[in-house]
């Protein structure tokens, strides 16, 4: 059993530092070609009960960003670093980002296109390296400018996707996002000429953060991975965001793995789990317990990497210390989960979630040999259709609900090609109150004084429970 990395070597907090930091994680850096990039690092250090943990961290002030990266690296956990970009940069309003920097207004992330390249180089200097890869997280449907800036800075790991960074992230038409993402992938892939192995993670496992049934999340993650591959990316990760029920989440990640093994013509991929991305608990115990449960989920499903949330999630941008606490708590929870042998699951790979996800993926792939065209057709026909998504290119014919067992289910499948797999259910009228009930279900469960039963995730699946939805 490995213990968390006890490396507390001091990290410079100034923007000018020597080239290397002393004494960082001796023996942990993979040597030779294994050290080439983000994907290799995570696959070397995560999986089989071991977890690489990562924050969602971004500050507009370069000194804070540097201190945050340094603290992530020095934390008692196996980590990779994150630079999360601000929302002005995401939508391409660079003037607003510049105005905020001028006026000293704090942003919700790091404006990488606006800070001079030399500033960002100093932020990373001596911190980023083979033993501490850094990923840029951005949420942009028009990412070419961002990827150009990253490439110039030597940053070679990012995330997103033509669907997942379009529909939930604004008003860019899907067709434009798809062609922008194709160009961005190709630009990123060209970094290989400089001896790098650029890495991309799908964000498709998260659509809107909440209330998107797992089968659609899995399908979108797989489709975006295929999209990246077809546009030249060779090192991938596929995401899945924790939802409302641990058994269902376990099924979903098993389905994701199986579909990737079946469909991705490479083995250079890993699974990244996101701690719950919806309305978060407001109490400290609730937030911590939810974080722990996501680390347990990641370990139970053999995921290689986990992106954490902090106790500040429900309120505001977290501090560096809150991020470090979250990383260390997740690492500790993963350690203890790895010590407890997970109960074997009853054919998890053949679950309803797998069947639906496979049906969705294959129906989309069959629409057109060019995946870009297939994705556009799929949304036009409603073969892909995200519940509650306001984007004009989303049909809006699907709806989800949480069943009494806490599983996230289809209330209405619209034109999704899974009608044969889903038991129909009459929809209750959507009101502000019923919406809020579903949105706050996880929050309320974890905020409740009595923490949810620790054993909940290890109960055998209640296959015949009367009120449980059969829709995965």
């Amino acid at each position: 059993m490995r213990s968390p990395v006890p490396d507390k070597s001091p990290v410079p907090d100034k923007l000018s530092v020597p080239d290397t930091l002393p004494g960082h994680r001796p023996g942990c850096v993979p040597s030779g070609s294994a050290a080439r990039g983000f994907g290799d690092f995570v696959r070397a250090h995560g999986g089989n009960g071991r977890l690489v943990v990562q924050p969602r961290m971004g500050f507009s002030d370069p000194a804070a960003m540097r201190a945050g990266l340094a603290a992530t690296r020095a934390s008692a956990a196996r980590t990779v670093g994150t630079i999360t970009l601000d929302a002005h940069t995401r939508v391409g309003h660079l003037q607003a980002a510049a105005a905020a920097l001028r006026e000293g207004t704090a942003l919700n992330g790091y404006p990488v296109v606006t800070h001079p390249p030399a500033t960002t180089a100093r932020v990373l200097d001596g911190i980023q390296g083979p033993g501490f890869p850094v990923q840029v997280r951005h949420g942009s449907a028009r990412p070419v400018g961002i990827f150009r800036a990253l490439a110039a800075l030597g940053l070679d790991a990012s995330e997103g996707g033509p669907v997942s960074y379009c529909l939930p992230y604004g008003r860019t038409p899907l067709a434009e996002s798809v062609s922008q993402w194709a160009a961005a992938c190709e630009l990123f892939a060209s970094l290989r000429e400089a001896g790098r192995e650029p890495h991309l993670e799908t964000f498709g496992g998260c659509m809107l953060g909440q209330l998107c049934p797992p089968s659609l999340l899995v399908a979108l993650s797989v489709l975006e991975a295929l999209f990246f591959l077809r546009h030249g990316i060779r090192s991938l990760s596929v995401s899945y965001a924790q939802q409302t029920n641990p058994e269902q989440d376990t099924e979903a990640i098993a389905a994701l793995r199986r579909l990737c093994a079946e469909l991705l013509p490479t083995d250079d991929w890993h699974v990244v789990v996101y701690t719950y991305m919806g309305v978060f608990p407001q109490t400290e115990h609730g937030a911590r317990r939810l974080l722990e449960s996501s680390a347990e989920l990641a370990v139970r499903t053999g995921a290689e990497r986990l992106i954490v949330k902090t106790v500040a999630e429900s309120q505001r941008i977290p501090t560096i210390q809150e991020n470090v606490d979250a990383l260390e708590l997740a690492a500790a929870a993963a350690e203890s989960a790895a010590r407890t042998a997970p109960a074997p699951l009853h054919h998890p790979a053949d679950s309803p979630t797998y069947q639906q996800a496979a049906a969705l993926v294959h129906a989309v792939l069959d629409l057109h040999p060019d995946l870009s065209q297939a994705l556009l057709r799929a949304f036009r026909r409603g073969y892909l259709d995200v519940p509650y998504c306001l984007h004009p290119d989303n049909r809006g014919l699907t709806r989800s609900f949480i069943d009494p067992a806490g599983r996230l289910c289809w209330a209405s499948v619209g034109n999704l090609p899974i009608g044969h797999l889903v038991r129909p259910r009459s929809t209750t009228r959507l009101t502000s109150a019923t919406l809020l009930t579903d949105l706050t279900r996880v929050r309320n469960r974890f905020d409740a004084p009595a923490p949810p039963a620790l054993a909940a995730s290890r109960r055998p699946p209640a296959r015949d429970a009367p009120k449980r939805c059969a829709t995965g």
Partner: protein, 181 residues
Amino acid sequence: MADLSRPADTAADRAHTPARATVVVTTVASDSHTWNLVYLQLLLEELGYEVVNLGPCVPDELLVHHCREIRPSAVVISSVNGHGAQDGLRVIRALREDELTATLPVAIGGKLGVDGGATSHTERLLAAGFDAVFEDGADTLTAFRRFLDELGPGADRALESGAERAAVQRRHADEQMSVSV
């Protein structure tokens, strides 16, 4: 700018409902969160308002444009990404500078900065021309209901307009981003 057309059936439904006071629900240019918008749309509809939901990441010009055309009874801006104060100060200037929207009741609410309310933005936003500010807190929704009450009851509110205005509203209802209920 994206075409915001929605399936036509929503417009057909609306053509048969009596004219009701219209509220524009929107967010600021950088903010992509939509659950807040969907929630506020439902809430306002339940209170009897016709709602035009402009969806995420609404550029300043687009909001002014829609307000000029729709002439709503009020605009409700929701932002939670932490840029609401910065973007809000900019968009209220644009609304106040346009003669057709200069006196329109405009409210903003949500998580308007990145420090969880440690800095209050209310005073600055009011000074810049907002009629009401609802930063996240204990009684936000109660205060919001009071603001709406002062606007007048939704369904019964007399519109100063005739068929022409109703037609414009319907056209815009068709262009909105909305969840059908």
